[in-house]
Protein backbone atom coordinates (compact mmCIF):
# COMPACT_ATOMS: atom_id res chain seq x y z
CA UNK A 1 0.00 0.00 0.00
CA UNK A 2 2.74 2.37 1.09
CA UNK A 3 4.86 1.47 -1.95
CA UNK A 4 1.91 1.94 -4.29
CA UNK A 5 1.08 5.38 -2.94
CA UNK A 6 4.74 6.22 -3.19
CA UNK A 7 4.80 5.17 -6.85
CA UNK A 8 1.71 7.22 -7.57
CA UNK A 9 3.34 10.19 -5.91
CA UNK A 10 6.48 9.75 -7.99
CA UNK A 11 4.48 9.49 -11.19
CA UNK A 12 2.64 12.69 -10.35
CA UNK A 13 5.92 14.35 -9.42
CA UNK A 14 7.39 13.40 -12.81
CA UNK A 15 4.38 14.28 -14.89
CA UNK A 16 6.29 16.90 -16.87
CA UNK A 17 8.96 14.34 -17.68
CA UNK A 18 6.32 12.02 -19.09
CA UNK A 19 4.99 14.92 -21.10
CA UNK A 20 8.46 15.28 -22.64
CA UNK A 21 8.65 11.56 -23.32
CA UNK A 22 5.21 11.30 -24.84
CA UNK A 23 6.04 12.51 -28.41
CA UNK A 24 9.11 10.27 -28.45
CA UNK A 25 7.14 7.20 -27.40
CA UNK A 26 4.39 8.09 -29.85
CA UNK A 27 6.99 8.33 -32.61
CA UNK A 28 8.43 4.90 -31.87
CA UNK A 29 4.97 3.44 -31.56
CA UNK A 30 3.74 4.77 -34.91
CA UNK A 31 6.92 4.56 -36.96
CA UNK A 32 8.27 1.27 -35.62
CA UNK A 33 5.61 -0.77 -33.83
CA UNK A 34 2.77 -0.28 -36.31
CA UNK A 35 4.95 -1.63 -39.17
CA UNK A 36 5.83 -4.64 -36.96
CA UNK A 37 2.12 -5.35 -36.72
CA UNK A 38 1.82 -4.49 -40.42
CA UNK A 39 4.26 -7.29 -41.24
CA UNK A 40 1.40 -9.74 -40.64
CA UNK A 41 0.61 -9.41 -44.37
CA UNK A 42 3.36 -12.02 -44.78
CA UNK A 43 0.72 -14.47 -43.50
CA UNK A 44 -2.12 -13.00 -45.53
CA UNK A 45 -3.41 -12.71 -49.06
CA UNK A 46 -4.07 -9.09 -49.86
CA UNK A 47 -7.57 -8.25 -50.97
CA UNK A 48 -8.20 -4.91 -52.53
CA UNK A 49 -11.88 -5.10 -51.67
CA UNK A 50 -12.74 -6.24 -48.14
CA UNK A 51 -10.36 -7.61 -45.51
CA UNK A 52 -7.16 -9.47 -46.25
CA UNK A 53 -7.48 -13.22 -45.86
CA UNK A 54 -5.24 -15.34 -43.69
CA UNK A 55 -3.06 -17.57 -45.82
CA UNK A 56 -0.98 -19.28 -43.15
CA UNK A 57 2.54 -20.06 -44.25
CA UNK A 58 1.69 -20.06 -47.94
CA UNK A 59 4.05 -17.22 -48.82
CA UNK A 60 6.87 -18.72 -46.80
CA UNK A 61 6.41 -22.04 -48.59
CA UNK A 62 6.53 -20.19 -51.91
CA UNK A 63 9.65 -18.40 -50.78
CA UNK A 64 11.49 -21.52 -49.66
CA UNK A 65 10.64 -23.42 -52.84
CA UNK A 66 11.82 -20.54 -55.02
CA UNK A 67 15.23 -21.03 -56.64
CA UNK A 68 15.59 -17.25 -56.85
CA UNK A 69 15.26 -16.89 -53.09
CA UNK A 70 17.75 -19.72 -52.52
CA UNK A 71 20.25 -17.84 -54.64
CA UNK A 72 19.51 -14.55 -52.93
CA UNK A 73 19.95 -16.14 -49.52
CA UNK A 74 23.28 -17.65 -50.56
CA UNK A 75 24.46 -14.33 -52.02
CA UNK A 76 23.64 -12.61 -48.74
CA UNK A 77 25.74 -15.10 -46.80
CA UNK A 78 28.64 -15.07 -49.25
CA UNK A 79 28.83 -11.26 -49.53
CA UNK A 80 28.44 -10.76 -45.81
CA UNK A 81 31.11 -13.38 -45.04
CA UNK A 82 33.55 -11.84 -47.48
CA UNK A 83 33.06 -8.48 -45.81
CA UNK A 84 33.41 -9.78 -42.28
CA UNK A 85 36.38 -12.05 -42.79
CA UNK A 86 38.37 -9.95 -45.25
CA UNK A 87 37.47 -6.45 -44.13
CA UNK A 88 37.25 -6.95 -40.37
CA UNK A 89 40.99 -7.28 -39.54
CA UNK A 90 41.99 -4.28 -41.67
CA UNK A 91 40.97 -1.42 -39.37
CA UNK A 92 42.74 -3.24 -36.53
CA UNK A 93 45.96 -3.44 -38.52
CA UNK A 94 45.53 0.22 -39.42
CA UNK A 95 45.18 1.19 -35.77
CA UNK A 96 48.45 -0.64 -35.03
CA UNK A 97 50.18 1.24 -37.83
CA UNK A 98 48.93 4.59 -36.51
CA UNK A 99 50.32 3.66 -33.13
CA UNK A 100 53.80 3.46 -34.64
CA UNK A 101 53.67 6.98 -36.09
CA UNK A 102 55.46 9.35 -33.75
CA UNK A 103 54.56 12.61 -35.50
CA UNK A 104 51.15 13.70 -34.17
CA UNK A 105 50.72 16.15 -37.05
CA UNK A 106 51.25 13.50 -39.71
CA UNK A 107 48.94 11.14 -37.88
CA UNK A 108 46.15 13.71 -37.70
CA UNK A 109 46.60 14.55 -41.37
CA UNK A 110 46.33 10.95 -42.56
CA UNK A 111 43.42 10.25 -40.21
CA UNK A 112 41.42 13.25 -41.36
CA UNK A 113 41.84 12.13 -44.97
CA UNK A 114 40.89 8.51 -44.49
CA UNK A 115 37.80 9.19 -42.37
CA UNK A 116 36.30 11.26 -45.17
CA UNK A 117 34.70 8.58 -47.41
CA UNK A 118 32.58 7.38 -44.49
CA UNK A 119 30.43 10.50 -44.83
CA UNK A 120 29.58 10.00 -48.50
CA UNK A 121 26.34 8.33 -49.49
CA UNK A 122 26.51 5.04 -51.33
CA UNK A 123 25.11 6.90 -54.32
CA UNK A 124 28.27 9.00 -54.39
CA UNK A 125 30.58 6.07 -53.64
CA UNK A 126 28.99 3.96 -56.36
CA UNK A 127 29.35 6.89 -58.77
CA UNK A 128 33.01 7.26 -57.88
CA UNK A 129 33.69 3.53 -58.22
CA UNK A 130 31.86 3.26 -61.52
CA UNK A 131 34.16 5.98 -62.84
CA UNK A 132 37.26 4.59 -61.13
CA UNK A 133 36.73 1.10 -62.55
CA UNK A 134 35.33 1.98 -65.94
CA UNK A 135 36.95 0.30 -68.89
CA UNK A 136 39.23 1.51 -70.33
CA UNK A 137 39.08 5.10 -69.02
CA UNK A 138 39.16 4.50 -65.27
CA UNK A 139 42.41 4.83 -63.41
CA UNK A 140 42.52 1.16 -62.42
CA UNK A 141 42.27 -0.02 -66.00
CA UNK A 142 44.73 2.65 -67.11
CA UNK A 143 47.22 1.15 -64.68
CA UNK A 144 46.48 -2.36 -65.95
CA UNK A 145 47.01 -1.19 -69.53
CA UNK A 146 50.24 0.54 -68.54
CA UNK A 147 51.57 -2.78 -67.29
CA UNK A 148 50.48 -4.49 -70.46
CA UNK A 149 47.40 -6.25 -69.07
CA UNK A 150 43.97 -6.25 -70.65
CA UNK A 151 41.38 -3.87 -69.19
CA UNK A 152 38.66 -5.50 -67.08
CA UNK A 153 35.04 -4.30 -67.01
CA UNK A 154 34.89 -4.73 -63.21
CA UNK A 155 31.35 -3.48 -62.61
CA UNK A 156 29.80 -5.87 -65.12
CA UNK A 157 32.09 -8.82 -64.47
CA UNK A 158 30.49 -11.60 -62.44
CA UNK A 159 33.95 -12.67 -61.29
CA UNK A 160 34.90 -9.29 -59.91
CA UNK A 161 31.77 -7.55 -58.68
CA UNK A 162 31.78 -9.05 -55.18
CA UNK A 163 35.38 -7.97 -54.78
CA UNK A 164 34.31 -4.51 -55.81
CA UNK A 165 31.94 -4.63 -52.83
CA UNK A 166 34.72 -5.63 -50.48
CA UNK A 167 37.13 -3.03 -51.80
CA UNK A 168 34.57 -0.20 -51.74
CA UNK A 169 33.63 -1.20 -48.20
CA UNK A 170 37.30 -0.97 -47.25
CA UNK A 171 37.60 2.39 -48.97
CA UNK A 172 34.59 3.73 -47.11
CA UNK A 173 35.10 2.26 -43.65
CA UNK A 174 38.70 1.30 -42.91
CA UNK A 175 39.45 4.68 -41.34
CA UNK A 176 36.20 5.12 -39.49
CA UNK A 177 36.24 1.62 -38.06
CA UNK A 178 39.82 2.05 -36.87
CA UNK A 179 38.71 4.82 -34.47
CA UNK A 180 37.48 2.40 -31.82
CA UNK A 181 40.74 0.45 -31.88
CA UNK A 182 42.84 3.59 -31.83
CA UNK A 183 40.96 4.70 -28.73
CA UNK A 184 41.47 1.30 -27.14
CA UNK A 185 45.20 1.50 -27.85
CA UNK A 186 45.41 5.04 -26.47
CA UNK A 187 43.92 3.90 -23.20
CA UNK A 188 46.70 1.38 -22.58
CA UNK A 189 48.93 2.49 -19.72
CA UNK A 190 52.29 3.84 -21.03
CA UNK A 191 54.11 2.22 -18.11
CA UNK A 192 53.57 -1.19 -19.74
CA UNK A 193 55.54 -0.06 -22.78
CA UNK A 194 58.20 1.62 -20.66
CA UNK A 195 58.79 -1.59 -18.74
CA UNK A 196 58.92 -3.59 -21.97
CA UNK A 197 61.41 -1.17 -23.52
CA UNK A 198 63.67 -1.53 -20.49
CA UNK A 199 63.42 -5.29 -20.90
CA UNK A 200 64.61 -4.83 -24.47
CA UNK A 201 61.39 -5.74 -26.27
CA UNK A 202 61.24 -4.60 -29.89
CA UNK A 203 58.34 -2.51 -31.21
CA UNK A 204 56.93 -5.57 -32.94
CA UNK A 205 57.14 -7.61 -29.75
CA UNK A 206 55.45 -4.80 -27.86
CA UNK A 207 52.66 -4.65 -30.43
CA UNK A 208 52.04 -8.39 -30.24
CA UNK A 209 52.55 -8.90 -26.49
CA UNK A 210 51.10 -5.70 -25.05
CA UNK A 211 48.90 -3.88 -27.57
CA UNK A 212 47.14 -6.90 -29.05
CA UNK A 213 46.07 -8.53 -25.78
CA UNK A 214 45.01 -5.14 -24.39
CA UNK A 215 42.62 -4.36 -27.22
CA UNK A 216 41.36 -7.92 -27.60
CA UNK A 217 38.12 -7.27 -25.65
CA UNK A 218 37.29 -4.38 -28.02
CA UNK A 219 38.06 -6.58 -31.01
CA UNK A 220 35.83 -9.35 -29.71
CA UNK A 221 32.97 -6.97 -28.93
CA UNK A 222 33.06 -5.40 -32.40
CA UNK A 223 33.30 -8.80 -34.07
CA UNK A 224 30.31 -10.10 -32.14
CA UNK A 225 28.34 -6.97 -32.98
CA UNK A 226 29.16 -7.51 -36.66
CA UNK A 227 28.00 -11.11 -36.46
CA UNK A 228 24.72 -9.90 -35.02
CA UNK A 229 24.14 -7.82 -38.14
CA UNK A 230 25.38 -10.56 -40.43
CA UNK A 231 22.16 -10.64 -42.48
CA UNK A 232 22.63 -6.99 -43.46
CA UNK A 233 24.94 -7.54 -46.39
CA UNK A 234 24.71 -3.86 -47.32
CA UNK A 235 21.53 -2.83 -49.12
CA UNK A 236 22.65 0.64 -50.23
CA UNK A 237 25.93 -0.59 -51.58
CA UNK A 238 24.43 -3.46 -53.57
CA UNK A 239 21.45 -1.42 -54.72
CA UNK A 240 23.67 1.30 -56.17
CA UNK A 241 26.37 -0.94 -57.62
CA UNK A 242 24.29 -3.70 -59.15
CA UNK A 243 23.40 -3.93 -62.82
CA UNK A 244 21.70 -6.46 -65.08
CA UNK A 245 24.95 -8.16 -66.01
CA UNK A 246 25.77 -9.22 -62.45
CA UNK A 247 22.38 -9.30 -60.74
CA UNK A 248 22.43 -13.08 -60.14
CA UNK A 249 25.69 -12.79 -58.25
CA UNK A 250 24.87 -9.79 -56.10
CA UNK A 251 21.14 -9.83 -55.42
CA UNK A 252 20.74 -10.03 -51.62
CA UNK A 253 17.63 -10.45 -49.48
CA UNK A 254 17.15 -6.71 -48.99
CA UNK A 255 17.33 -5.91 -52.71
CA UNK A 256 15.06 -8.90 -53.37
CA UNK A 257 12.47 -7.54 -50.93
CA UNK A 258 12.50 -4.23 -52.76
CA UNK A 259 12.32 -5.72 -56.24
CA UNK A 260 9.77 -8.48 -55.61
CA UNK A 261 7.79 -6.67 -52.96
CA UNK A 262 7.64 -3.02 -53.91
CA UNK A 263 8.69 -2.79 -57.54
CA UNK A 264 6.74 -5.86 -58.69
CA UNK A 265 3.94 -5.60 -56.14
CA UNK A 266 4.17 -9.04 -54.50
CA UNK A 267 3.68 -7.41 -51.10
CA UNK A 268 3.09 -10.57 -49.09
CA UNK A 269 5.99 -12.48 -50.60
CA UNK A 270 8.33 -9.53 -50.17
CA UNK A 271 7.27 -9.04 -46.55
CA UNK A 272 7.72 -12.76 -45.90
CA UNK A 273 11.29 -12.56 -47.20
CA UNK A 274 11.98 -9.49 -45.08
CA UNK A 275 10.44 -11.10 -42.00
CA UNK A 276 12.47 -14.26 -42.49
CA UNK A 277 15.65 -12.19 -42.67
CA UNK A 278 14.54 -10.18 -39.64
CA UNK A 279 13.95 -13.31 -37.56
CA UNK A 280 17.38 -14.73 -38.41
CA UNK A 281 18.85 -11.33 -37.54
CA UNK A 282 17.00 -11.27 -34.23
CA UNK A 283 18.22 -14.77 -33.40
CA UNK A 284 21.81 -13.78 -34.29
CA UNK A 285 21.68 -10.59 -32.23
CA UNK A 286 20.26 -12.31 -29.17
CA UNK A 287 22.69 -15.22 -29.34
CA UNK A 288 25.71 -13.04 -30.02
CA UNK A 289 24.67 -10.89 -27.08
CA UNK A 290 24.79 -13.97 -24.87
CA UNK A 291 28.11 -14.93 -26.41
CA UNK A 292 29.41 -11.48 -25.61
CA UNK A 293 28.27 -11.74 -22.01
CA UNK A 294 30.20 -14.98 -21.73
CA UNK A 295 33.31 -13.74 -23.54
CA UNK A 296 33.71 -10.28 -22.10
CA UNK A 297 31.28 -10.24 -19.20
CA UNK A 298 29.33 -7.50 -20.90
CA UNK A 299 26.37 -7.62 -23.23
CA UNK A 300 26.29 -5.79 -26.50
CA UNK A 301 22.94 -4.26 -25.57
Amino acid sequence: MEVKRNLKKRIIRDKQIYLLLFPVILFFFVWHYIPMWGARIAFQDIRYIGDNQWAGLKHFRMLFSSPVFARVFLNTIVISSMKIFIFFPMPIVLAFLFNEVTSQGYRKFVQSVIYLPHFFSWVVIAGIFISLLSSPDGVVNQILIFFGADPVPFMTSTRHIRWVFVVSEIWRSIGWDSILYIAAINSISPTLYEAATIDGASRLQQALRITLPSILPTVITVFILNLGFFMNAGFDQVFNMMNDAVINHVDIIDTYVYRIGLAKGNFSLGTAAGLFKGLIGLFLILSTDRLSRKATGEGVW
Binding site: L19, H32, S112, V113, Y115, S121, G127, I174, A183, G261
Partner: protein, 294 residues
Protein backbone atom coordinates in the same frame (compact mmCIF):
# COMPACT_ATOMS: atom_id res chain seq x y z
CA UNK B 1 69.45 6.08 -30.76
CA UNK B 2 65.85 5.02 -30.31
CA UNK B 3 64.76 6.73 -33.51
CA UNK B 4 67.58 5.18 -35.53
CA UNK B 5 66.84 1.65 -34.37
CA UNK B 6 63.32 1.56 -35.70
CA UNK B 7 63.65 3.91 -38.60
CA UNK B 8 63.22 1.40 -41.45
CA UNK B 9 59.96 -0.02 -40.15
CA UNK B 10 58.74 3.46 -39.37
CA UNK B 11 59.57 4.84 -42.79
CA UNK B 12 57.71 1.93 -44.31
CA UNK B 13 54.64 2.70 -42.19
CA UNK B 14 54.76 6.43 -42.93
CA UNK B 15 54.97 5.74 -46.66
CA UNK B 16 52.23 3.15 -46.51
CA UNK B 17 49.88 5.52 -44.68
CA UNK B 18 50.64 8.22 -47.22
CA UNK B 19 49.71 5.86 -50.05
CA UNK B 20 46.53 4.92 -48.21
CA UNK B 21 45.58 8.59 -47.88
CA UNK B 22 46.29 9.00 -51.57
CA UNK B 23 44.00 6.09 -52.45
CA UNK B 24 41.26 7.76 -50.40
CA UNK B 25 41.62 11.21 -51.88
CA UNK B 26 42.61 10.52 -55.49
CA UNK B 27 39.23 9.30 -56.81
CA UNK B 28 37.60 12.46 -55.43
CA UNK B 29 40.36 14.67 -56.78
CA UNK B 30 40.01 13.02 -60.18
CA UNK B 31 36.26 13.81 -60.27
CA UNK B 32 37.04 17.41 -59.33
CA UNK B 33 39.58 17.69 -62.15
CA UNK B 34 37.21 16.22 -64.73
CA UNK B 35 34.42 18.54 -63.60
CA UNK B 36 36.67 21.57 -64.09
CA UNK B 37 38.20 20.56 -67.42
CA UNK B 38 37.33 22.82 -70.35
CA UNK B 39 35.19 21.53 -73.25
CA UNK B 40 38.05 21.37 -75.73
CA UNK B 41 40.06 19.03 -73.49
CA UNK B 42 37.30 16.97 -71.91
CA UNK B 43 37.32 14.20 -74.53
CA UNK B 44 40.88 13.31 -73.59
CA UNK B 45 40.32 13.48 -69.83
CA UNK B 46 40.21 10.14 -68.03
CA UNK B 47 41.03 8.49 -64.71
CA UNK B 48 44.67 9.49 -64.94
CA UNK B 49 44.12 13.19 -65.60
CA UNK B 50 45.86 15.20 -62.90
CA UNK B 51 45.37 18.76 -64.08
CA UNK B 52 42.20 20.45 -65.31
CA UNK B 53 43.20 21.88 -68.69
CA UNK B 54 41.24 24.85 -69.95
CA UNK B 55 39.86 25.18 -66.46
CA UNK B 56 36.29 26.45 -66.33
CA UNK B 57 33.25 26.50 -64.07
CA UNK B 58 30.95 26.14 -67.08
CA UNK B 59 30.07 22.56 -66.24
CA UNK B 60 28.84 23.68 -62.82
CA UNK B 61 26.90 26.53 -64.41
CA UNK B 62 25.24 24.06 -66.75
CA UNK B 63 24.53 21.55 -64.01
CA UNK B 64 22.94 24.17 -61.80
CA UNK B 65 20.83 25.45 -64.64
CA UNK B 66 19.18 22.04 -64.99
CA UNK B 67 15.83 22.40 -63.29
CA UNK B 68 15.97 18.94 -61.76
CA UNK B 69 19.32 19.66 -60.15
CA UNK B 70 18.61 23.02 -58.56
CA UNK B 71 15.22 21.83 -57.41
CA UNK B 72 16.91 18.74 -55.99
CA UNK B 73 19.37 20.95 -54.17
CA UNK B 74 16.58 23.05 -52.65
CA UNK B 75 14.61 19.92 -51.72
CA UNK B 76 17.64 18.44 -49.97
CA UNK B 77 18.27 21.65 -48.07
CA UNK B 78 14.61 21.81 -47.03
CA UNK B 79 14.38 18.17 -45.92
CA UNK B 80 17.70 18.37 -44.07
CA UNK B 81 16.95 21.59 -42.20
CA UNK B 82 13.36 20.82 -41.18
CA UNK B 83 14.35 17.26 -40.36
CA UNK B 84 17.23 18.45 -38.22
CA UNK B 85 15.06 20.72 -36.08
CA UNK B 86 12.62 17.88 -35.41
CA UNK B 87 15.47 15.44 -34.72
CA UNK B 88 17.08 17.74 -32.20
CA UNK B 89 13.89 18.66 -30.35
CA UNK B 90 12.60 15.08 -30.10
CA UNK B 91 15.95 13.49 -29.29
CA UNK B 92 16.66 16.11 -26.60
CA UNK B 93 13.27 15.56 -25.01
CA UNK B 94 13.76 11.80 -24.92
CA UNK B 95 17.35 11.98 -23.72
CA UNK B 96 16.61 14.49 -20.97
CA UNK B 97 13.68 12.47 -19.65
CA UNK B 98 15.84 9.37 -19.51
CA UNK B 99 18.61 11.08 -17.54
CA UNK B 100 16.22 10.85 -14.61
CA UNK B 101 17.28 7.51 -13.18
CA UNK B 102 14.38 7.13 -10.72
CA UNK B 103 11.65 7.76 -13.28
CA UNK B 104 8.97 5.09 -12.79
CA UNK B 105 8.92 2.84 -15.87
CA UNK B 106 12.30 4.06 -17.14
CA UNK B 107 13.74 0.64 -17.93
CA UNK B 108 10.49 -0.37 -19.60
CA UNK B 109 10.71 2.66 -21.88
CA UNK B 110 14.35 1.93 -22.69
CA UNK B 111 13.47 -1.64 -23.61
CA UNK B 112 10.60 -0.33 -25.75
CA UNK B 113 13.12 1.80 -27.66
CA UNK B 114 15.89 -0.82 -27.90
CA UNK B 115 13.53 -3.39 -29.42
CA UNK B 116 13.18 -1.09 -32.43
CA UNK B 117 16.95 -1.32 -32.94
CA UNK B 118 16.97 -5.08 -33.31
CA UNK B 119 13.71 -5.80 -35.07
CA UNK B 120 11.74 -3.93 -37.68
CA UNK B 121 8.56 -4.47 -39.64
CA UNK B 122 10.40 -3.95 -42.89
CA UNK B 123 10.28 -1.98 -46.07
CA UNK B 124 6.81 -2.94 -47.25
CA UNK B 125 4.97 -2.43 -43.93
CA UNK B 126 6.80 0.93 -43.70
CA UNK B 127 5.50 1.83 -47.13
CA UNK B 128 1.96 0.84 -46.19
CA UNK B 129 2.18 2.95 -43.03
CA UNK B 130 3.06 6.00 -45.12
CA UNK B 131 0.15 5.23 -47.44
CA UNK B 132 -2.28 4.79 -44.54
CA UNK B 133 -1.11 8.00 -42.87
CA UNK B 134 -1.58 9.81 -46.17
CA UNK B 135 2.08 10.79 -46.24
CA UNK B 136 3.02 9.35 -49.63
CA UNK B 137 4.35 12.04 -51.91
CA UNK B 138 4.71 14.41 -48.96
CA UNK B 139 8.01 15.68 -47.63
CA UNK B 140 6.93 14.63 -44.14
CA UNK B 141 7.34 10.95 -45.04
CA UNK B 142 11.05 11.57 -45.57
CA UNK B 143 11.53 14.25 -42.90
CA UNK B 144 10.10 12.07 -40.16
CA UNK B 145 11.86 8.87 -41.26
CA UNK B 146 14.08 7.87 -38.32
CA UNK B 147 13.16 11.14 -36.58
CA UNK B 148 14.57 9.69 -33.36
CA UNK B 149 17.56 7.43 -33.80
CA UNK B 150 18.12 5.33 -30.64
CA UNK B 151 21.91 5.35 -31.08
CA UNK B 152 21.98 9.14 -31.17
CA UNK B 153 19.56 9.30 -28.26
CA UNK B 154 22.03 7.27 -26.19
CA UNK B 155 24.89 9.55 -27.24
CA UNK B 156 22.96 12.65 -26.22
CA UNK B 157 21.92 10.98 -22.98
CA UNK B 158 25.60 10.61 -22.05
CA UNK B 159 26.21 14.30 -22.74
CA UNK B 160 23.15 15.34 -20.72
CA UNK B 161 24.30 13.14 -17.84
CA UNK B 162 27.29 15.44 -17.44
CA UNK B 163 25.19 18.49 -16.69
CA UNK B 164 25.60 19.05 -12.93
CA UNK B 165 22.55 17.71 -11.10
CA UNK B 166 22.86 20.55 -8.58
CA UNK B 167 22.18 23.04 -11.35
CA UNK B 168 18.98 21.26 -12.33
CA UNK B 169 17.88 20.89 -8.70
CA UNK B 170 18.48 24.59 -8.13
CA UNK B 171 16.36 25.45 -11.15
CA UNK B 172 13.57 23.21 -9.85
CA UNK B 173 13.76 25.02 -6.49
CA UNK B 174 13.33 28.27 -8.38
CA UNK B 175 10.15 26.87 -9.84
CA UNK B 176 11.42 26.12 -13.34
CA UNK B 177 9.35 23.52 -15.19
CA UNK B 178 11.12 20.53 -16.78
CA UNK B 179 10.57 21.83 -20.30
CA UNK B 180 12.15 25.16 -19.38
CA UNK B 181 15.04 23.39 -17.64
CA UNK B 182 15.68 21.34 -20.76
CA UNK B 183 15.61 24.23 -23.21
CA UNK B 184 17.18 26.98 -21.13
CA UNK B 185 19.74 25.04 -19.07
CA UNK B 186 20.50 21.52 -20.27
CA UNK B 187 20.65 22.15 -24.02
CA UNK B 188 22.72 25.37 -23.83
CA UNK B 189 25.24 23.63 -21.57
CA UNK B 190 25.45 20.58 -23.86
CA UNK B 191 26.50 22.41 -27.03
CA UNK B 192 29.03 19.71 -27.91
CA UNK B 193 26.38 17.00 -27.56
CA UNK B 194 23.86 18.87 -29.67
CA UNK B 195 26.54 19.59 -32.29
CA UNK B 196 27.49 15.92 -32.39
CA UNK B 197 24.00 14.57 -32.96
CA UNK B 198 23.20 17.43 -35.36
CA UNK B 199 26.09 16.34 -37.55
CA UNK B 200 25.01 12.70 -37.35
CA UNK B 201 21.44 13.55 -38.29
CA UNK B 202 22.51 16.14 -40.85
CA UNK B 203 24.70 13.67 -42.73
CA UNK B 204 21.90 11.11 -42.52
CA UNK B 205 19.33 13.46 -44.10
CA UNK B 206 21.72 14.79 -46.70
CA UNK B 207 22.70 11.28 -47.83
CA UNK B 208 19.22 9.79 -47.73
CA UNK B 209 17.89 8.77 -51.14
CA UNK B 210 16.08 5.45 -50.93
CA UNK B 211 13.02 6.39 -48.88
CA UNK B 212 12.69 9.52 -51.01
CA UNK B 213 12.71 7.35 -54.13
CA UNK B 214 9.88 5.19 -52.87
CA UNK B 215 7.80 7.62 -50.78
CA UNK B 216 7.91 10.69 -53.00
CA UNK B 217 6.21 10.41 -56.33
CA UNK B 218 6.61 13.82 -57.98
CA UNK B 219 9.94 14.22 -59.68
CA UNK B 220 9.84 17.82 -58.50
CA UNK B 221 10.11 16.70 -54.86
CA UNK B 222 13.18 14.47 -55.21
CA UNK B 223 16.25 15.39 -53.16
CA UNK B 224 19.62 15.85 -54.84
CA UNK B 225 20.89 12.32 -54.05
CA UNK B 226 18.05 10.81 -56.09
CA UNK B 227 18.83 13.14 -58.99
CA UNK B 228 22.52 12.25 -58.81
CA UNK B 229 21.66 8.58 -58.69
CA UNK B 230 19.47 8.87 -61.76
CA UNK B 231 22.19 10.42 -63.84
CA UNK B 232 25.38 8.96 -62.44
CA UNK B 233 24.26 5.43 -61.70
CA UNK B 234 21.22 4.70 -63.81
CA UNK B 235 22.81 6.81 -66.58
CA UNK B 236 19.54 8.28 -67.74
CA UNK B 237 21.15 10.89 -69.88
CA UNK B 238 18.06 11.62 -71.93
CA UNK B 239 16.18 12.79 -68.86
CA UNK B 240 18.74 15.47 -68.32
CA UNK B 241 20.11 16.98 -71.42
CA UNK B 242 18.26 14.95 -74.00
CA UNK B 243 15.15 15.79 -75.96
CA UNK B 244 13.04 18.50 -74.35
CA UNK B 245 15.61 19.83 -71.94
CA UNK B 246 18.40 20.01 -74.43
CA UNK B 247 18.00 23.58 -75.54
CA UNK B 248 16.87 24.84 -72.18
CA UNK B 249 20.18 24.05 -70.61
CA UNK B 250 22.56 26.88 -71.04
CA UNK B 251 25.50 25.67 -73.07
CA UNK B 252 24.31 22.07 -72.87
CA UNK B 253 25.58 21.36 -76.35
CA UNK B 254 29.15 21.78 -75.20
CA UNK B 255 28.77 19.95 -71.89
CA UNK B 256 30.24 16.51 -71.77
CA UNK B 257 28.32 13.77 -70.00
CA UNK B 258 31.42 12.67 -68.12
CA UNK B 259 32.05 16.21 -66.87
CA UNK B 260 28.39 16.56 -65.91
CA UNK B 261 28.50 13.39 -63.79
CA UNK B 262 31.71 14.50 -62.10
CA UNK B 263 30.28 17.94 -61.34
CA UNK B 264 27.17 16.35 -59.79
CA UNK B 265 29.26 14.10 -57.57
CA UNK B 266 31.32 17.07 -56.37
CA UNK B 267 28.22 19.23 -55.93
CA UNK B 268 26.54 16.69 -53.66
CA UNK B 269 29.61 16.26 -51.43
CA UNK B 270 30.37 19.98 -51.07
CA UNK B 271 28.24 20.37 -47.90
CA UNK B 272 30.00 17.37 -46.38
CA UNK B 273 33.37 18.93 -47.17
CA UNK B 274 32.26 22.29 -45.75
CA UNK B 275 31.21 20.73 -42.46
CA UNK B 276 34.11 18.30 -42.35
CA UNK B 277 36.21 20.31 -39.85
CA UNK B 278 33.28 20.18 -37.40
CA UNK B 279 32.71 16.55 -38.25
CA UNK B 280 36.30 15.78 -37.30
CA UNK B 281 35.89 17.65 -34.04
CA UNK B 282 32.61 16.12 -32.92
CA UNK B 283 31.97 12.94 -34.88
CA UNK B 284 35.07 11.10 -33.84
CA UNK B 285 34.29 11.81 -30.22
CA UNK B 286 30.65 10.94 -30.78
CA UNK B 287 31.67 7.63 -32.22
CA UNK B 288 33.45 6.85 -28.98
CA UNK B 289 30.63 8.17 -26.79
CA UNK B 290 28.17 5.90 -28.53
CA UNK B 291 30.62 3.08 -29.06
CA UNK B 292 28.18 1.81 -31.58
CA UNK B 293 28.58 0.46 -35.04
CA UNK B 294 26.57 2.07 -37.77
Amino acid sequence: MEVKRRSIGQIFIVVFLFLLALVMIYPIYNQLVISLTGPEYIAAADGTTLVARGMTLDTYRSVLSIKKVYRGLLNSLYITSVGLVINIVLTSMGAYALTKRDLPGRSLIITFIIITMIFEGGLIPDYFLMRDLGLLNRYWSVILYKAVNPYYLIILLRFFDRVPKSLIEAARMDGYGEIRILFSIVIPISVAGIATISLFYGVFHWNEYFRSMIYLIDEAKMPLQVVVRELVIAGEKANFIGATNYFNVQGAATVDFKALKAALIILVIIPILLFYPFVLRYFVKGRLEGSVKE
